[in-house]
Chain length 177, copies 2
């Protein structure tokens, strides 16, 4: 059964979903559109920040880049992976949270609702198992989007994974599953 997060807003239509895999150096994004059968991959890409610039300038690049994507595709919702405090890579997590704060700011400033999914929710929805491997996730994305090869780079694939997770969660609510 699809996992619907408790803060999911049923008034959001899943017509166009923007999935985001946030990172300070590179932020992957994915645009999915609804069709009668499978969801359609509209665009996937990476928003980069310039190394050597200040942290403030870099998060500005990411936020403005996301805003451009939002203005072009006018998604009805942004789906993003929940970030967890990790004792394994605390510095990376802190930098990623800065990027995430700027991306959330840009989405909210554009009036786009944001839904968060845990990595376990994304894996479970795409493969049936919350402990699926990267390869299993890649395989599920390929099947869902009827692609003839694996999606690359990784951050774009991860952005599609969270977009697909929202796509199916939202459909499940609408269909009353």
């Amino acid at each position: 059964m699809p996992v619907v997060p408790p803060h999911f807003d049923a008034s959001v239509r899943p017509g166009c979903v923007l999935g985001v895999d946030p990172g300070l150096n590179r932020t992957g994004y994915a645009i999915l559109e609804r069709s009668i059968r499978n969801p359609v991959l509209r665009e996937g890409g990476v928003i980069r920040s310039t190394q050597g610039l200040s942290l403030a300038e870099r998060v500005l690049e990411l936020g403005r880049g996301l805003r451009e994507v939002i203005d072009e595709f006018k998604p009805q919702v942004l789906a993003i992976e929940q970030v967890f405090s990790t004792t394994k890579f605390p510095k990376t997590a802190i930098l990623m949270a800065h990027a995430r704060g700027a991306l959330l700011y840009a989405a909210a400033d554009a009036g786009i609702p944001v839904v968060h999914y845990t990595p376990t929710q994304v894996k479970r929805l795409l493969t049936g198992s919350g402990k699926a491997s990267k390869e299993q996730i890649q395989h599920a994305i390929r099947q869902e989007l009827a692609l003839d090869k694996v999606l690359e780079p990784n951050d774009v694939a991860d952005a599609f994974a969270v977009a697909l997770c929202h796509y199916h969660s939202a459909r499940a609510v609408i269909l009353g599953e």
Copy 2:
């Protein structure tokens, strides 16, 4: 001797300094202006986010609030405490980093340069010791700003502390100390 961070930009004039103590629930800010003698406290306050709103809406409130302060006082620089990955309060650090990302975005979007100071730099510059207590910091702020009582609340006092740290670091560079 004042501590000058390696990324300090000598072209930034210390005329009006905006100090910020970031937090998701409350972000303290402080406006300091240069005078011939002591720096002058122009305004100190708190930007609050609404509990119960989504994380994206809350960081938007903080970023927009900061933008209002910037538009009103037109500071030449924003001074903010460096955030560190802490294993003590990892969840708090992650939420604070989200707030910080949105605040940095808002400052960079307004064209304001941002300088970061470590807590040790702030303490050392205000008291001479990198291990000063909260009370010693408060005492130093009182003296610097010629106040007849302790500054409250705490986040406003911390915002003044980092603003003062920048004020003196910048003056030290200009005076060639």
